[in-house]
Each structure stands twice: as C-alpha cells, then as structure tokens.
Amino acid sequence: MAILEVRDLHKSFGKNHVLKGISFDLEKGQVMSVIGSSGSGKTTLLRCINFLETADSGKITVAGDVLFDSDSKTKISEKERRNKQLKIGLVFQQFNLFPQYNVLDNVTLVPRLRAKERDDYKTNRKAIVEQIESEAKALLEKLGLSEKLENYPCELSGGQKQRVSIARALALKPEVLFFDEPTSALDPELTGEVLKVIRDLAKEKMTMVIVTHEMSFARDVSDYVIFMNNGTVLEQGTPEDVINNPKNERTKAFLMKVNG
C-alpha cells in the first residue's frame, strides 16, 4: 500500500479553479518531484496536503491515516489535526525559522513542547530533554551545522537557514517530507549544499515530495515525477519518461523553457 495517496483533489480560490482533480500514489522510501510552470498549482497542492489550505474535495491518506476526506461528515478536532500534521512535514521556500531562537532551539522547540504532554515527563524530565537535545545535535551534525548550534537565524547564510529548517522538520520524524522549491530563495552558489542534503536523505530512503525547478536534480534524485499544468497532472512517470522523453507537447515546451 502506498504511504501517500492523493485522490481527485480539487481546490478553487473564488472563481479560480486551481487544482482540478489531482491524484497520485507514493510508495514508502520513494522521492517524487513535482514540476510545472508558475501558477500551475504546485504550491497549492502542497498547502492542501499540509492543512494550510482546505481542499474543496478529494481524499488524502498518509500511512493508512486519512488526513482529509471531503466525503466524510465527521469534522476532525484541532487536536486530531495536530496529530495528523505530525505525520507530514513541510520545508518552506522562505525557511520561516523562528528568529528569536538559536539553531539548536529552533530544532528542539517543538519536540520539547510535545514531550511535556508525555505521562512520564515530570519524573523523567532531565533524561527526556537530554535525549531530545542529543538527537537534535546528531541531526544538525549530519546536515553540517554542528558549528552553528548557538547561532541565531539572522547570523546564517540562506543555505544554512534552509538546512536548519530541514533539520527542524526531520526532528519530528515525519512519514513524508514535502519541500516547496527549497532552493528558490537561495543564491545560485548556495543551492548545492541544500540539494546535497536532500540527496543524502533520498539515499536513506526518506519519503519526499519535492516541488522544484532544478531539472537535473529532479532527474537524479526522484523515483517518480509529475508534471502539473493548469491544475492537472498532465504527465507522470519515471524521470526517464517525463524529463528525458516527454510525450506531451506542453511538457516538452516547459522543459525546453527551463533548460534554456
């Protein structure tokens, strides 16, 4: 069974029908890239899956847990929504780090808040906090940030900020991690370090969905590619099929444009 199932997702903003029935499956440990021209609905798709927008209709399932189902009449509570939210993670184009916390605290803030809800928190507090910190440090070390634990976001380069925000998302151990153009806000010379981190995660079989304009990266890293056009999935398949041998005229035109 696929770890992420999206079925016939629709979303309109007023009269603007942005998602016109998006469906796909993603297997555990696989990487899917979402490509397509500006305004085709890629960000909206990610935002609908991550509860930042509410889809008008369709169904989203992660690891057997229904995140969204327009046919179901029962409304989910805020607490349920938060628990479902933790199955998925989202890395923003603009990082959205918390400026008043240093790098380590950005990563440990939410794990520490959640630990407070544990029954054994009062008795085991010290051990729990130490555990959270050492996990966060290990994660940051893996992403090449062990020198920066005490630094504040305003003291980091764009590439470092984005790596911290990836660490912050990974610290919650999501089943699927989503990226919305993770390198678009970076200077060209800084994109490499972020893409490398994502490649490494792919090698470790992290399940990921990546919206990207970096075609060679999408080709290398993904198992599956979908090409979105005007709110629909126009073409999907392996990178070999979609990026190297596109069938659809629009896909071809799009790839011509981004490849210059």
Binding site: F51, E78, G89, F92, N96, Q100, L109, L113, R114
Partner: protein, 229 residues
C-alpha cells in the same frame, strides 16, 4: 537664593507628595491601558463588522480630540449633565476620574501600536508553527509574542514617555499631582507664598523620570537586538 535654600526642604516634601500622585496615575494608566489596548486591538480586527466599525470610531474620537477635554468631560459630565456626580468631591474622586480618562485615552493609542506590531509578523511564522503541529496558543506565546514585543518597544517607549508628561493634564480637574503641588506655593501653602520657583522645579522631576525611562527602554531595545528577521 538664600530664601530658596531656606524653603527647599518644605517645598521638596510637598513636591514629593505631588509626584507620588503623578507616579500613581502613571502606573495605574499603564496597568489599565495595556490590557485594554490589547482588547481594543483585537476588537478593531474583529470579523464582526459592526464591532470593528464601532471600535475604530471610538479610537478615532479618542485620538482625534485633546485628552484635556476628555478629562473635563469624564469628570464633570456625570455631575453637571446627569446630576449624578459619581466621582464624589475629594481627591480620591479626582484621581479615579483621571485614571479612567487616561486609561481610555492611552488604550486607544496603545491599541494602534499593538495592531501594527501583530500585523508586522510574517504569516510564515504562523504557518511554520501550524505545520510543526503547535497549537495556536503555543504559536502565539512561543513564536509570535517576543517578535511583537521587539517590534513595539520603540513606539511604546515614545508613548510611555509622553504619558509621563501628560499626567500633568490632570491638573485641569485639580488632581493634586506635582504641578498642582508646585503651583500651590504661589498662592500660599505650608507657610510659603508668592514663590514661583517650586513650579519651575517640578520640571526636574519630569526630566529625571523620563530620563530613567529612556535609559531603561534603551536597555530593553538592546537586549532584544540579538535577533531580527
């Protein structure tokens, strides 16, 4: 000059009593206007249009008219217009009426500062909190609040230093604050009359007080300068 040195202990004592009243008005105004200002700022952002329109109108009236007139209306209107002087005659009544007028007036100014401070937080901060599974309360208190505080310290410090000087407006309804105490030595008080220097000397108190506040706010601003967006 010799005379001033002679009069100084008496005047100093009387001015201290007046300044204590000034200080009380200042502190009560802050304690009341900050929470009320927050409520007003939420009210003016309300999705319920009649409420936000009402709140905006009140804020416009209060900010658009002199505090001195508001003081006079609040103090005299109940007695002279409605024949029911809820404030009573004494200093206690004048003090409470002054507090009410100052709290309402300053809450309206503060509310605009709070509104601006909250609006200046990028929506991405709220979205990051949500995506990480934080509750709305956690996002507000752990993520947004300190950033709002940092943003509003400079305008709030301006407003609060203005409040120090504005307290003297309570003189208009004869609340016995420091100006009133200084002026009393002209007509005659504590066996001294015809002395104008005590009134001029009150300025020293205002200068010292606003000086202390300026330094304190400067420190706070510096303390919060370790981060920015």
């Amino acid at each position: 000059m010799v005379q001033i040195i002679h009069q100084f202990p008496t005047v100093f004592n009387a001015l201290n009593v007046g300044f204590l009243q000034t200080l009380k008005l200042f502190l009560v105004t802050l304690a009341g206007a900050i929470p009320l200002g927050l409520i007003i700022s939420f009210g003016s952002k309300s999705k319920f249009k009649p409420l936000s329109a009402l709140v905006k109108t009140v804020v416009w009236i209060i900010r658009g008219s002199p505090l001195m007139i508001q003081l006079l209306i609040i103090y005299y209107m109940p007695g002279l217009v409605f024949d029911n002087n809820i404030w009573g005659g004494g200093e206690q009544g004048r003090f409470i009426a002054s507090c009410v007028a100052f709290i309402i007036n300053y809450a309206c100014y503060f509310s605009e500062i709070f509104r601006g401070g909250i609006q200046s937080i990028p929506v991405g901060q709220y979205e990051a909190g949500q995506v990480l599974g934080m509750t709305k309360g956690q996002t507000f208190f752990r993520v947004v609040l300190l950033q709002v505080v940092k943003n509003i310290v400079p305008p709030m410090s301006n407003e609060i230093i203005t409040l120090v000087k504005d307290t003297s407006l309570a003189r208009i309804i004869s609340m016995q604050e420091i100006i009133w105490a200084g002026q009393a030595f002209m007509k005659g008080s504590h066996g001294i009359s015809g002395a104008i220097w005590p009134l001029f000397f009150t300025a020293v108190y205002y200068l010292a007080f606003s000086g202390i506040l300026t330094v304190a706010f400067g420190k706070l601003e510096k303390k919060l300068s370790y981060f920015h967006e």
